[in-house]
Amino acid sequence: MTQIAYLIAATLFIIGLKRLGSPKTARSGNLAAMSGMLIAIVVTLLDKQILDFTFIIAGMIVGAALGLVAAKKIQMTAMPQMVALFNGLGGIASALVAFAGYRQAGPTRIDVAIAITTIISLLVGTATFTGSLIAFAKLQGRLRKAAGRLPMPKVLNAVVLAAVLTCGALALLDPGSAVWMPMVLVLAALYGVIMVLPVGGANMPVIISLLNSYSGVAAAATGFVLSNPVLIISGALVGASGLILTRIMCQAMNRSLGNVLFAGVGALPAGSEGSGEEPRQVTRYSAEEAAMVMDTAKSVIIIPGYGLAVAQAQHALQELADLLANRGIEVRYAIHPVAGRMPGHMNVLLAEANVSYDLLLEMDAINDDFKNTDVALVVGANDVTNHEAACCKPDSPLFGMPTLKVNEARSAMVIKRSLSPGFAGIDNDLFYAQSTMMLFGDAKQMVTDLIREIKSL
């Protein structure tokens, strides 16, 4: 009976994920997954194995309250750190369950398979937890950039990982010992920290996807420890999902996973950047001038970046887009896969600002349209628009990265606080092009100014 219910739950998870494939069915998909979870929980609670409900009820009430408040209160701009935190909690829960299951089995009944999967669950789950906490702190801006500099990250990584595996092996050889498994736990925690610490802000989409995958792997490993198929299936699904997203994010940045993990924050050879060159000329426009240009345009493509989220300018931007649309101008959005701090982050922000999702276009779908577009409006994005460096400068770190062809638009407007280079520390030729107008200022303030000026035309 219990097993059948678990089967139904696993099926509902798969159906739910499948329905997440289209915005029309996505919400019902989430509901399907939710009911699958409910079935699994209720059936487990009815199980005869459970003798004492005190701790369960206390734990569930506390957990549900925390989860509910977090889900209701969180701002959409802070979604990446929220998901990171949830990933981490899932990871540590899996590790704790595997650990307790291992203890429960007792030294006499532990076979090699259980011991190995316990070690995997402890390693992956705990590393997910501490790694996610670091990611959370970074995304919240609680960690200074200097904190990310570790000496020889690759070596350190390998050493700690080797130590974890050694303790794991010792635990295998000596199942009665109360030392080695806890050691695995502690060292795995350390591993999570040094894995995420050197990773820079713009690489967060990769790390969050990876941690997402890990939380699934941990759940699956715990499923092996408890021989519970629903855990194995769900964990495998989530592990696969996170891995796919990790790969997509890496491709969108043209970096290998190893490069993201070990290259450190903006690791550029010193002095490679424009020193000794003459200061280059930019064309500076005021909001009033820009408004007049926009008013004569027939088509506008908006390119949002993380700066938009930082400035909380998504609602103002949507107002501007509506205003232009009402004047008969075609307005669309071009979303680069790594815009924002997690996969799909920009889409959520703009959806929150009531932008219709059919106007949110993927890079491949819109890139050939830039040449027929009058104005490309870049808001808080930089590296993803650096087509020059990506296509034609083999020595640039951005070389080969898929970029938005903003330079092909008849004119470009870039809203930016200053000329400082982007996260990767690379100058963007787009800013100096003759067809580019630079609008210096805070994104929200500038967009609000543009709205006012266009209204007064």
Partner: protein
Amino acid sequence: MDANLITAVYIFVLAVFVGFEVITKVPPLLHTPLMSGSNAISGITLVGALLIAGGGDGMVAKLLGMLAVICATVNVVGGFMVTDRMLEMFKKKPETRK
């Protein structure tokens, strides 16, 4: 190797393939909800946590179990709620232009 383990490995491998098939089809538009939704699903570990916390297996196990129940419940409840909140916002608006 015993048959149970082999079956479990089969289940795992097949589920990974199902996961790849299903999730490759999700458009970038929905990647954030996908991530928080799948994240909530990984909170299934709650099932294991319940069994540990409710088992009659000593205080340490119960406390470990309770801690796991708390973490996993935050994961499940928070994950599904926030996914729903996001998906609610994804709307296609009717054309307003004349």
